[in-house]
């Protein structure tokens, strides 16, 4: 491992109450990759909602995702959305229950370059399912901010979100 290839915490947020969204702003451009580690619940609601991210304030249909999932039985569903307005960070979107939290690790690769579209890799895990997802943001701008929110309802109190920087060297 290169000496610089380690987790450096950039910012962390722990929710004291149910919250519609959180932001990470002024993300340093000094790392190679970003890793977002999330432990979260949704406040109420039912299955079918997702943790979502919009970057750099872009609300246009400039995102896409491809996923494969498991709910523990049957043929694993796989699919893609080619034109959406957000990153999808748990394709099955089941809100964790009051006694457990979804464990989500998402890596944004080469986020600070200004020549390529940006991709992310997500592994989301809850009592309802396993998701592996790749997202694409069709924009060459460096990622400097993120807005996190649920596709419905709020992020629940007790949820934690930490953004780490990884340097290649």
């Amino acid at each position: 491992m290169a000496s610089g290839a380690t987790y450096t915490p950039i910012a962390t947020q722990t929710l004291g109450s149910n919250t519609p969204s959180i932001s990470f702003n002024s993300i340093p451009q000094t790392y190679t990759d970003l890793v977002l580690v999330s432990s979260y619940q949704m406040s109420g609601g039912s299955a079918g909602y997702d943790l979502c991210i919009q970057v750099n304030g872009d609300t246009g249909n400039n995102y896409s995702d491809t996923y494969v999932s498991s709910t523990g039985s049957g043929t694993p569903p796989s699919g893609r959305n080619t034109s959406t307005n957000k990153f999808i960070l748990d394709a099955y979107g089941y809100p964790a229950t009051s006694t457990s939290y979804t464990a989500n690790v998402t890596t944004f690769l080469n986020y600070s370059n200004t020549t390529t579209y940006k991709t992310s890799l997500t592994r989301a895990n809850s009592t309802y399912g396993v998701d592996a997802i790749v997202n694409l943001w069709r924009n060459t701008a460096a990622i400097s901010s993120m807005l996190l929110f649920m596709s419905s309802n709020n992020l629940a109190a007790g949820s934690t979100f930490t953004l780490y920087g990884l340097a290649a060297a």
């Binding site: 380690t6 987790y7 694993p76 464990a103 989500n104 592994r123 895990n125 009592t127």
Partner: protein, 171 residues
């Protein structure tokens, strides 16, 4: 700029003769997340592939998982209890020098909520058979994780298996 906070807490390399389990005890409570990285092989000779699983604080109760698995030709979903599982190699025909690899990430291991885990794992049998196993793991306990034990699903952990435990701080 904050300091890097991925810290290696402990390592184990299995010696000659193998071991029935690998335990990391007295885990410091000063980190936010834990990451266990395994290069694992069991001495089970009935197949070339196997599984390992993790338990916490000396127990393997109240543990459950959901698995998404790919074999190169088909994908499948299963669920179960008794541990947080991951793919490993075994010692059957065709497994010479092959070890499975797994990364188990556990956020908020000192918290007072149930503990969720994210597992990415893979094993390959010298080009003739391979599995990718993605697991969602849950320990339904509000206790902080103070020890972690990795068990082979069959037999013992074989010589040269390695287990690295890391702590990650969020500040």
């Amino acid at each position: 700029m904050a300091n890097p906070t991925l810290v290696q807490l402990a390592t184990t390399t299995v010696g000659s003769g193998g071991v029935s389990s690998v335990t990391f005890s007295s885990i410091p409570q000063t980190y936010t997340d834990l990451k266990l990285v395994v290069s694992g092989k069991t001495d089970y000779t009935g197949a070339a592939y196997d599984l390992g699983y993790v338990g916490f604080n000396g127990v393997t109760t109240n543990l459950s998982f959901i698995r998404l698995q790919g074999s190169g030709s088909a994908a499948s979903s299963t669920s179960g209890t008794g541990g947080i599982f991951f793919r490993a190699n075994a010692s059957g025909t065709g497994s010479t020098n092959t070890f499975g690899n797994a990364e188990i990430y556990i956020p908020n291991y000192t918290g007072s909520t149930n503990k969720s885990a994210s597992v990415d794992s893979v094993e390959e049998n010298n080009g003739t058979e391979a599995y990718t196993g993605l697991f969602a793991g849950l320990w339904s306990s509000t206790a902080a994780i103070t020890s972690l034990t990795a068990y082979p699903n069959n037999g013992n952990w074989a010589q040269y298996s390695t287990f690295y435990l890391y702590g990650i701080k969020n500040s």
